[in-house]
Symmetry: C2
Subunit: 221 residues, 2 copies
Amino acid sequence: MFIYICKILLDNMGVSERKAKEKEELKSLILKAAQKLFLEKGIEQTSIRKIANEIEYSPGTVYFYYKDKNDILYDIHSQGFRKLSHELKVLFNVSDPMERIIALGRVYLNFAIENPDLYDLMFNMKAPMDFLNSIHQQDWNEGIGTFDVLKTTINQCMEKGYFKGHELEALSFSVWSLVHGIASLNISQRIRGVNLKEPEMMVMKSYEEFIMLLYKGKKIY
Amino acid sequence: MFIYICKILLDNMGVSERKAKEKEELKSLILKAAQKLFLEKGIEQTSIRKIANEIEYSPGTVYFYYKDKNDILYDIHSQGFRKLSHELKVLFNVSDPMERIIALGRVYLNFAIENPDLYDLMFNMKAPMDFLNSIHQQDWNEGIGTFDVLKTTINQCMEKGYFKGHELEALSFSVWSLVHGIASLNISQRIRGVNLKEPEMMVMKSYEEFIMLLYKGKKIY
DNA sequence: ATTTGTAAATGAACAATGTTCATTTACATT
DNA sequence: AATGTAAATGAACATTGTTCATTTACAAAT
């Protein structure tokens, strides 16, 4: 009797586990299709119908796995953060915090240039934040994590005597704003229109200018 | 006979002038309705049908005065730049260029905070740039004009001995990027989610940090 | 006064969107 | 073989931007 019940339970577990796994698999299939369309054809070509078409399911099925379109976009956004944080992790090797913060900015800018649509989704579009609001989740953990990397590094700079008289959080936000501003103006095509001498160089050149400013705030022995 | 022809011509002029005026008037009526909807209800509530409804015309009529939706959005965007440049003009009174540049940033940030949707349209949304592309106009004159105000001021700072070793255009773009970054992260709700101590203060506090950095690049006598 | 020509306004129509939901299908459990 | 539930369907709804054949309005010409 006992064994019989165990068998049932185990069978049940086995089945429901498999089902859950299948469900996860289909969900990630939807996500992959969404990412493919998003990266290949851009945001406006990424409709629920086209995603469903891509994996040969009906539009309604998508809503069995995702609450709504914002839910899907949030998922793509999260994947983007995994990708970005993976690229940033390499910089743990750089021991000097001042060198590291400069490298961080460079990697960040490269990420934005290489993945403009994804960057836009991660840092500009309303969809991911609307999704968080809709599930009553106030914290944007992806953003918090990335911002912490920056804050930690700047804190280490301060401990080494840099940025005297500055406030950690506000300065960190300043640095983030600078690189985000460069990235955004580039992506939204506001650089191209402004009649610069070397538009394609401006992203990195303006970042160099900022680094110069940063270094002027260094410790004086 | 001559007088008769003149009469006709004069009459014609009078009529076509009046017609042209009426046409201008209806176009600006459409624009006003679009602005109203845009500012009151946001971008997603600003559809051509709702604009047409607002002024009690049919949807098709709108297309007689505007090429497409991007055309309307570009017009709203241009009005935004007139508003912004009007606010910036007050600062011609500030004689010290270093003080002026700091004030410029403050006014710019205030504008962004007070008119978030409009700012988004002016500096982030693709619509205005898509419109320029569609009419084969490469230069973004509204942006060029505003950027020139900044460049001129920074140039004056340099003439006074500030920012030694910096490059005018790149540094100007750096400053623009910083305030734009702060404004954008604020508008796209990326500040709120990042768990700051005083989120509502961060816009101005991080700007103060940047000003501190700027001042460290000042002339040393 | 009547016809004519053109500019302006209409609103139906099209294709596409996000989303919902009653219905059907598939399939493990009884 | 019957049952119950999870999963998948696809039609339907309300919107969107945009087009276009048709109608309306009205000044000009006869």
